[in-house]
Symmetry: C2
Subunit: 279 residues, 2 copies
């Protein structure tokens, strides 16, 4: 497995780096970002927080705008940020921002023209951690978080793989994609018309019937323009109540859907994950 | 004076906002950003840190990437970020990144075709603070900082107006523009061939003959690609020694010219300014 370093910037005593590699799951070249805290340079094997980004994002938005490196450096946590979909000339795409490149929805697509590349679920759950854990000075302790479409991805991936993650968190997640326009459009395209196949990618469905628990923290801005139509945190709360899931859902007054919101509360999420990764 | 709010995002309990206004000094419409800390909403008049950005930047780079809001909120400091030049269709420009729009160099241009719009010195020293102080809940306590071309601007403006600023700092400043390619190109274009007129815009020249002191902090990355040819902090250090100027110059191992560097040390700069603004 070859991996090519494409950028390297010192940050809070550690390093932000970007790498290209050929992904077998996605059948194309992918770029990801990693923040390595200072103690990773001293021979320590550090735990990893995976961050899944939202619609239109790449590996760069979180790294540039969330301000996570300061506390990650202090806590000794690496952060790995994949892209949000397969990319490239040979990869199917759509003119709209909410389907195709930049909008992989962290599923394994079964429908044409998406099924030859769009396997972001496998990429995030298996291939990327295997690559990261065999390349960098990191342990196999993992946590996962994300924003919006990536919050959906983080919750689904943790709920389906509770043995692989110490904790999960999300900002403004799409909590019930089967019942919102973004999710319905994407699932119809990637998974087809049979709604039974959608259930495995719906955080509220999964949380409602969960029996193994990954501690979960969710922050949602009350000033978020997508709150009512797309995000619906009340449905996730109801699902958590049904299974007595350990979900902490916080509504934050006045905050919107932007990285300003993420930056304002990322420290809380990092401390939450650190407590579970080091517990 | 009309001023139009163009964006508003809650951030660390305060607000990031952007405004458009017509600038008399620059003879065009300008956008600036302001971060207002939480206590500015409670009737407190807060001090202001002005941030001057580098080549190619707008009012957004610092606001998105520096991670300054967290500590500014805690310290109760507003941050105002102007654009780096006049802008617009009627404004003279150049094909290169280091002259014209995005590269105003914080001077008052005297040469054609620049002299009808390029008066960033007057804008930053006079017009923008007057607008800010008459519009927002801020005091007349000011500090100034900046990066690269903006570090040059911050140092020059503080050195020429010591009564107006409590403190000055810079990241990777162009310390001696008269003696580096970026500065020589810009000063030739904006100020003309008479090098005497350049001295009033050269931080090393001004610091060497300073008699009134504004406390100054400068951080420079040792891994900065522009260090030797363009930035030359050793010339500023020599100037400070000549006038016994209170300059703290720090060389930071491994850091480059990027916002990763700024983010890593912005807290030190905010605490430095807070100590002087509240002193």
């Amino acid at each position: 497995m070859t991996i090519e370093n494409v950028s390297s910037n010192k940050s809070f005593g550690g390093w932000n780096k970007q790498y290209n590699h050929y992904s077998e799951s996605l059948n194309c070249t992918m770029r990801f970002a990693i923040y390595l805290p200072p103690n990773a340079s001293n021979g320590d094997k550090v735990p990893v927080l995976y961050w899944l980004s939202g619609l239109t994002c790449t590996d760069e938005n979180f790294i540039h705008k969330a301000g996570a490196q300061r506390l990650a450096a202090e806590l000794g946590i690496a952060i790995v940020v994949p892209d949000t979909s397969p990319r490239g000339e040979g990869v199917a795409d759509d003119d709209n921002y909410d389907l195709g490149q930049g909008a992989g929805f962290y599923v394994n697509a079964t429908q044409e023209p998406w099924s030859s590349h769009y396997h972001m679920y496998d990429y995030v759950v298996d291939e990327l951690p295997r690559l990261v854990e065999s390349t960098f000075p990191v342990s196999d302790k993992r946590a996962i978080s994300g924003h919006s479409m990536g919050g959906h991805g983080a919750l689904v991936i943790a709920l389906r793989n509770p043995e692989r993650y110490a904790s999960v968190s999300a900002f403004s997640p799409i909590t019930n994609p089967m019942n919102c326009p973004w999710g319905q459009k994407a699932f119809n395209a990637y998974l087809g018309k049979d709604r039974e196949s959608w259930r495995e990618y719906d955080a509220s469905e999964l949380m409602r019937r969960a029996t193994q628990f990954v501690p979960a923290l969710v922050d949602q801005g009350e000033g978020d323009d997508f709150l009512v139509e797309q995000l619906k945190p009340e449905l996730l709360a109801a699902a958590a109540e049904a299974s007595a899931y350990p979900l902490e859902l916080r509504l934050q007054e006045g905050y919107d859907h932007s990285y300003y919101f993420i930056a304002s509360f990322i420290d809380d999420h990092l401390r939450f994950h650190a407590a579970h990764l080091n517990g």
